[in-house]
Amino acid sequence: MHLRPATLLMAILAGLILLAPVTANAATTPAPSPSAGAEAPEANPIVDGQNITVTLKDLNGGKGEPKPVPGVTLTVFKESKSGEQVGTQVTDTAGRISIAIPSNGVYYIALDPDSLPDGVELSGGESNLTITARLGGNNFATFPIGASVGESVAFSEKLTNSVVSGLKKGLIIALAALGLSLIFGTTGLTNFAHGELITFGAIITFMFNRGFGIPVIAAGALAVVVSAGFGWVQDRGLWRPLRRRGTGLIAMMIVSIGLALLMRSIFQYTFGSSTQTLSQYVAQPRTDYGLISLSDKEIAIFGISIVAIVIVCIAMMKTRLGKAMRAVSDNPALSASSGLRVDGVISSVWILGTALTGLSGVLLAINEQVNFQMGFKLLLLVFAGVTLGGLGTIWGALVGSIIIGLIVEVAPIISINGYNPVPASIKEVGALVVLILILLVRPQGILGRAQRIG
């Protein structure tokens, strides 16, 4: 049987290249323009894309209409006061500032009390505020003047926003989950180092992009290729010899834990512990498309992941290699006796699986930022997605991951009579609870076949 492991890979790359123009047209980050000076500017429009918007209003103890407070200097820092300055603005005649932020996370907003007009004082006494940006889009913060006032986003808008970011997260998880599921299906290995394969894709992208100055899109494509090569090396250098020795599956699982610790430490050693951004597409403005608003990079992420997943699924159904992979995952001994080169098929599965996982890391790096433990943090969600759909099934991994992505993003906005069952700071908990519940009710997952699992 003639196998062409490169065919599937080329197909994925073709998908990437086809979509490249979409991303290439994306506008570069509009740098938050610091408008210094005590004069209040005419108007600060709400910045498109992810932003922090603060409106200062003097409630005057609740008497009369709240009056906006213009001419106050506000500065936004990342994480804390000692963090990187994201931007500074002076409130306009509507008492508003709006500063673009690169990603979700914790931001520290400092208000310069000296710039407050005479007779206006903060009622809380605190001139600093730490807020956590979680949903894409607008993040509003309020400083109490006279009394606090908050501008909240309508629930329907919050829901559509979180559904969109849930789908996006779900697709990124699905790419990694497909890789995990393919490898589990053919080798039986529960790979705890899979999260590090996600990080690998992201860090290689970062290395090509920042290190060698290659544009993000090309760097991402190269990272997918390098990931694929890494999968091949890993199988040849580690897993195949272990299979030959007849090492047990639990022993292999513990080996993968060791590999995960090793890789994560090496990432931290070479990349450092800080979180860094790629050179392009960091903070993009969002365009309104009726119900939802998306930035160009988000459209690209949707497009690339959907195309990659569709190509893989079709290839698994139609091509000889795809059929061989499914045959091996069904019954390795029977496939071998039918003349399939099982080791060759497993090699291609590793190449395909790590390429997909690397792609998910690339997209995650473009969507958020690069950090040495970004994949490790996603690992349990990937496991949850795969388990929910059914270990070892392709469609299951896909469906399960998207459900998990949606649960993670939508659960925090649900509140019953003001009580929030899943607070946003621990939004992953909902998905992990679902993981345990599904094991309790239907251990084979939504689409898995009932087999011995107990």
Binding site: G188, G258, L262, Y269, V433, G454
Partner: protein, 331 residues
């Protein structure tokens, strides 16, 4: 380069409180994985429940210290029962994923801002260890060249190694009993045991509770020795390190987890101290272009990851174990 400092750091860590925490947690894992073949990857969760059980009882609920200890132990038993019902019927890899997920849920919930009033948020809780500290009979710390301990550490070591010794005696007795033999036969062949009329589920549950209680004890000891309970201490990496210690010493052996933990901390602290010395100072042994002192602290974890892989590939039974007694071949 001062080798005396390296040796002091290595020995002090190997005999110190941190190694005791690992020894207790690994004894629990030994009951789970070594004797019964249960792949519990959520030992950190049992520790968190134990540690926070004590801290929350004393700080938040204002209960006496000794009641807090009882609450902590009861909480770990409850966790084991709650976790065991859905997961013990599952295959090993499913059990691993379910336990790891539950320990992450616990860590996230304990550290959440929203429950700051009860669990203290990401800073955790302090101020529950007074009774423990007041019991300390030692007036001063010791420094005998090779090892040095502060007064508090000396007290923790006394209490901790006593607990470890008692635990070992308990495990030794239990595993020689008919009950222990059933556990080991479950590890070897579950179906055979079932066909002999034993209630496999009940035995597994008892093993899970026993090992979980050791995990809880490790958690209680951990928060007492540092007088604070911090959620991030109980992350999944801890469980993996405890597994590394257990496998190094040898699973399914009474002293395996203890020797493993001592050795684990000897190597971790020794390597850490060695590389921090090699990169520190004005004329470091290893130039900063190759390794900075931040990177130096990571070398030991690189070695640890590599070591765990090689150990599992080359000598899965560890130092003392018997290869035939390790549940690594099944699913």
């Amino acid at each position: 380069m001062d080798f005396a400092v390296v040796i002091d750091a290595a020995f002090s860590a190997a005999l110190g409180p941190q190694a005791i925490v690992f020894a207790l947690a690994a004894i629990g894992l030994n009951v789970h994985f070594g004797y019964t073949g249960l792949l519990n990857f959520g030992q950190a969760g049992f520790m968190a429940v134990g540690g926070f059980g004590l801290a929350v009882s004393v700080v938040t609920w204002d209960l006496p210290f000794w009641v807090g200890l009882i609450v902590a132990m009861l909480a770990t038993i409850v966790l084991a029962l709650v976790l065991g019902v859905p997961t013990l019927r599952l295959r090993a890899d499913y059990l691993a994923i379910a336990t790891i997920a539950s320990s992450e849920i616990l860590r996230l919930v304990l550290g959440a801002v929203e429950f700051k009033g009860t669990f203290g948020g990401s800073n955790g809780l302090t101020g529950f260890a007074r009774t423990y500290k007041n019991l300390n009979p030692y007036g001063d710390g010791v420094d005998i060249g090779v090892v040095s301990f502060s007064k508090d550490d000396l007290w923790s070591i006394t209490v901790g190694w006593t607990l470890v010794a008692l635990g070992c005696v308990l495990i030794w007795t239990l595993m020689r009993s008919p009950w222990g033999r059933v556990l080991r036969s479950i590890r070897e062949d579950e179906d055979a045991v079932r066909s002999l009329g034993k209630n496999v589920f009940a035995y597994k549950m008892q093993a899970l509770v026993l090992g979980g209680v050791f995990g809880g004890l490790a958690g209680v000891f951990h928060v007492l020795k540092q007088a604070s309970a911090v959620p991030t201490d109980f992350n999944t990496t801890f469980t993996f390190y405890a597994y590394a210690a257990l496998l190094m010493g040898g699973a399914a052996r009474v002293l395996g987890p203890v020797i493993g933990s001592i050795l684990f901390w000897f190597l971790i602290a020794g390597l850490g101290s060695f590389f921090s010395q090699a990169t520190g100072g004005t004329d470091p042994l290893i130039p900063a272009s190759i390794m900075t002192d931040t990177q130096a602290s990571l070398v030991r974890f690189i070695v640890l990851g590599l070591g765990l892989m090689l150990l599992m590939i080359l000598r899965p039974q560890g130092i003392f174990g018997d290869r035939r007694e390790i549940a690594i071949d099944g699913r």
